[in-house]
Symmetry: C2
Subunit: 207 residues, 2 copies
């Protein structure tokens, strides 16, 4: 039942040259995904753009899916880094300040590479990365939940899991839709209004 192609690296890159090759391949994959779409993202094309031969590509990635999976992981790790840092920074702040910061960060995180974010979101189910993305969501949920728990005295009585689910969904949706709609032409003023309003939405809900 080997329904999904293997996604683990075929071998580890040891020497500097091979590490550069791997990097070029990942870079090329992300670039093609964004600029030409998933359809045009063939292994031959990736190798061509990376300035590497197909043979070399297959020395490091056992399948096309493995390549996409690696790009997804890299991107997720980048975003998770931002989110984790924000939650640490926010740990001792009262709810209103904390929510404002988290909303701001959510929008920023989506703005890092909106087009890649979008393409990846579309391709995730097909690369067998569902498990990883669920882990990602669970981590966010856990972190936010534990913050809310520490601030329970400022809140009304609610089921913490439900409240976390509602808040994370709402914030994520505003960030996501904002970036999708406005693309890159988001004035700072508009962003500020959205942050204000989303903060109000969430803070008003929590207490």
């Amino acid at each position: 039942m080997a329904r999904t192609p293997p996604t683990k690296p075929r071998k580890n890159a040891l020497q500097a040259r091979s590490r550069a090759t791997v990097d070029a391949l990942l870079e090329a994959t992300a670039r093609i995904l964004v600029r030409e779409g998933f359809e045009k993202t063939s292994t031959n094309r990736i190798a061509e753009v990376a300035g590497v031969s197909v043979g070399s590509l297959y020395q490091y990635f056992p399948s096309k899916e493995a390549l996409v999976a690696a790009v997804i992981e890299r991107h997720n790790e980048e975003i998770m880094g931002i989110v984790r840092a924000a939650l640490v920074e926010v740990a001792d702040l009262p709810i209103d300040k904390a929510v404002r910061k988290l909303v701001t960060v959510a929008i920023e995180a989506h703005r890092v590479n909106p087009k890649l974010h979008r393409v990846l979101a579309e391709q995730i189910p097909r690369t067998g990365q569902l498990a990883d993305v669920e882990a990602f969501n669970r981590e966010v949920h856990t972190l936010v939940r534990s913050y809310l728990e520490s601030r329970r005295k400022e809140m009304r009585k609610v089921d913490l899991d439900v409240a976390t689910f509602i808040c994370v969904s709402a914030i994520e949706a505003v960030a996501h839709n904002t970036v999708l709609n406005g693309a890159e032409m988001l004035s700072e003023k508009v962003v500020k209004v959205l942050v204000d309003e989303t903060t109000r939405l969430v803070v008003g809900y929590l207490r």
Copy 2:
């Protein structure tokens, strides 16, 4: 120009048989998208599952994308019907009652065919249906906005477009995530809690 005897009603351009063929093709496409994924959704396979030949398929749909697009349109129309009806029904209700109804309907609409909804959402960019989906979003936005406008006296002072954007995003996200996470195993009790909480979120925000 001989006159046609008025003894019989005019026949439709499409005969019953061909309408059945088109239907079978759409049904098969949706079915394969859900059960086997986009990768396996080939025109040959669609024809096979529909019990129709590839040649016949191409008599009605000029390309694979056209088929997927037709499925998307059908699905969107179904959902828009539900949403429109709900907004009519809600037009004379106060905000708290109206929001509750809309949240309920949003979750219901997502539950109609969650897996198809998901696959289609992923494939939209690929089928060049982005414009149609944006039209869909715009209609929802317009309808919700005009409801809010009619109830402005119950609300605090807000930019209507921003408020609409925030509310629609939040409600849609909760519905979407609820269905994605819980799949089909959603007890009525859990749904009720989520409706209550989301209603509180949105109503609290609006006033």
